[in-house]
Symmetry: C2
Subunit: 116 residues, 2 copies
Amino acid sequence: MIVKKIADVEAVSVQMDGAKDVRVRVLFGPKDAAPTFALRQFEIAVGGHTPFHEHPFEHEVVVMAGEINLVTEQKEIPITVGDVVLVPANEKHQFQNGSSTEMAKMLCIVPVEYQK
Amino acid sequence: MIVKKIADVEAVSVQMDGAKDVRVRVLFGPKDAAPTFALRQFEIAVGGHTPFHEHPFEHEVVVMAGEINLVTEQKEIPITVGDVVLVPANEKHQFQNGSSTEMAKMLCIVPVEYQK
């Protein structure tokens, strides 16, 4: 049984090409011997965004704070606390902070083999 | 891309032996073609609890509202908003509402093959 406070997990700046002002806390992943999936919290500062990209695995996302613009190839979808998203493999997507004042936070779950 | 509001997903009473006053919303699971893991929200009423049980797969849990007593074979651990738990396979566990006034809510993620 592993119990953690999210606030105690180190927040690391995301260095991927196309990411701006995003930090990630790996809540459970390979270092915890998570067998199947990794649980991460992303924190997107005002003006920040994740890359507009795709990859061969899915995301499941839970908005925890703030306002987010979910950008797809077809449209932009505003999401907020109470919303969840399944991003299928190989669909382009980006998460932009949609607020001019508030940090956006979201959980993002992926198959554990994609969490380095 | 599937976007849902948690409140729009049907809450179903959990009928397992040992469960009391628990409802579940399957946010993403087999019906959404989730490939690897299922995302559920459990809602435990005042006085309610999940079964004290074990199973051959892990949980990853995120407390979303209220106060929860996490019961293991060794001890009880109070958890609340901001806490996350990895319950390894084959470890006994129970989630009890720890408040006398407030509904407890938690996300619980499992390998999708265990979500019926």
